[in-house]
Amino acid sequence: MRPDLFEAPDYYNLDDLFSEEHLLVRDAARQWVKRDVSPIIEEYAQKAEFPRQIIGGLAEIGAFGPYIPEEYGGAGLDQISYGLIMQEIERGDSGVRSTASVQSSLVMYPIYTYGNEAQRKKYLPKLASGEWMGSFGLTEPNHGSNPGGMETKFKDMGDHYLLNGAKLWISNSPFCDVAVVWAKNEEGRIHGLIVERGMEGFSTPETHNKWSLRASATGELIFQDVKVPKENLLEGKSGLGAPLGCLDSARYGISWGAIGAAMDCYDTALRYAKERIQFGKPIAAFQLQQKKLAEMITEITKAQLLAFRLGQLKNEGKATTAQISMAKRNNVEMAIKTAREARQILGGMGITGEYSIMRHMMNLESVITYEGTHDIHLLITGMDITGHAAFKG
């Protein structure tokens, strides 16, 4: 892979809107990605392996629960800082960002928000430091867009719960130490349970042969008569709204992360177009290439503004699920289109591992599907503006 020459586009001088601390946090993450992720990520993606050696670095730059209060090992940062960290990590690779998203929004967030004090104290500091890694079990083989239909269930056995079922497409599953698992009780009500590696009957087989997020480990969570201690129930909230609250947080992070992937593709394509000579001049001088590049920077700039405003709303506690859906959907689609156009600018070179573009493009095929598919997010907007839910039977 070529040296990482990334220069971040900031066409509308958004840096002027960020605080001193936002910039410090963002630049630290940016420097770290350049130093520790870019030089190795292509190799790990090619061999379909998660680079576990970067977990310590992710923790150091605050990628694990940056908005969790300091007393629980977090950094007590705001939502814009969280977004900027996700943006910078995904600039390196969506798979690495997925690992950080899951840890922050899908494991630490529910333990912090729905957990009791003992659970917060036990899990959050170790998750923030990366000593423990977490995963989140909601999606099942037969229930993707319709998680409410889940079949995983637990029974009250008096002194413990007995958990049975299976979860699929779970980031971090093969190496997770803890899993936040959503299952129905005997009354059919959804609850969150913290399952720890080592509990009898709990296994995490890896999903192989992915063409996407290859530098991130994906797998299953299988529960066969797993005895879960009663103190591992998340008591703060039950019902489908509880896991969906976590998804709001993760989707928000993705709306920033996707910008990072797009920025990297745009920057690579712009540099290549200026250097690549055909017919006696740089291909950047040809109108068709300029159209691609000009549209890319326009769309990136719009996505940046969308994410920034959503960050402000999130900081004020006002961001709605529908607003988050709009940003996730728009920004991921923007990124995938940017990656495809950038790939064309690089011609044949675009398909090689010398450049990051094809890796981003393939990663984004997962990002556009997970955490609410592209179509479902459109229907969430549709429901929000019309009052009619078009995705329910």
Partner: protein, 246 residues
């Protein structure tokens, strides 16, 4: 040991350079600023003295409020306290006089400044500062050890290195070699959080003369078109007849 690291706030090397006001002022619009690399090598070495020898490290910058993100980064890397002299650093003599005042008031044993900033490349400040303070001075310093009151420094000289024994108080004009690029630190979250609580003291400049002022900036001529030649004879012909270089 009390160390002062002087840091300049300079454009990132990838910045597009433009000028305004009839080519007399640098256009900062859209430019990202960083700690001057020569200063960052010094800061990183100072962190080593802090961690291994219990030194206290302060940073000082002469600049307007817009330099504070760069100063805060130095605090996040691990400096204990910062001082910003609230004035535009337009002249090396002026800057050195401001820093001399900071050193006098702070009672520092060791002052580390970059041998030059990578924006204006004046290269004056550490030398003038040492003279104003009547301190020992080692310029283009590529390694530094301190043992009690004694210091051993290495300098880069033409075709080799020079080892110098000297004593504190001392001013260093530092550069790469004080530490290597791979030793430079990225602020971690713990450091960023701690930096929130560290003092960044803003002081007003003392009256000081400026020895120079910028009359005009000129950018290098734009690169011309590239000509590809197939053989040495053609190359010699072009260099001789067209470029008139040989």
């Amino acid at each position: 040991m009390k160390i002062l690291v002087c840091i300049s706030n300079v454009p990132d090397t990838t910045s597009k350079i433009n000028f305004t006001d009839g080519d007399t002022k640098f256009d900062t619009n859209g430019v990202q600023f960083v700690i001057n690399p020569n200063d960052e090598f010094g800061l990183t070495r100072a962190m080593w003295f802090k961690e291994k020898q219990g030194a206290t490290v302060h940073v000082a910058n002469v600049g307007g409020p817009t330099t504070e993100p760069t100063i805060r980064k130095a605090l996040a890397i691990g400096a204990d306290e910062a001082i910003r002299v609230n004035a535009e650093p337009t002249d090396g003599f002026f800057v050195a006089q401001q820093l001399a005042e900071v050193v006098k008031n702070g009672g520092y044993d060791l002052v580390i400044a970059g041998r030059e900033s990578i924006d204006y490349n004046g290269g004056m400040v550490p030398g003038i500062l040492a003279t104003l303070l009547d301190m020992n001075f080692v310029n283009t310093c590529i390694s530094l050890e301190v043992d009690g009151n004694n210091a051993t420094a290495m300098r880069e000289i033409d075709g080799g290195k020079e080892k110098i024994s000297t004593s504190l108080p001392l001013v260093i004009g530092g550069q790469k070699g004080l530490v290597e690029e791979s030793d430079l630190r990225i602020p971690n979250m713990r450091g960023i959080m701690m930096a929130r609580k560290k003092a960044l003291n803003v002081i007003e400049p003392v009256d000081a003369a400026k020895a120079t002022q910028d009359a005009k900036f000129e950018k290098p001529a734009a690169k011309g078109a590239v000509k590809l030649v197939d053989n040495v004879d053609d190359l010699i012909n072009l260099l001789h007849n067209e470029a008139k270089a040989i």
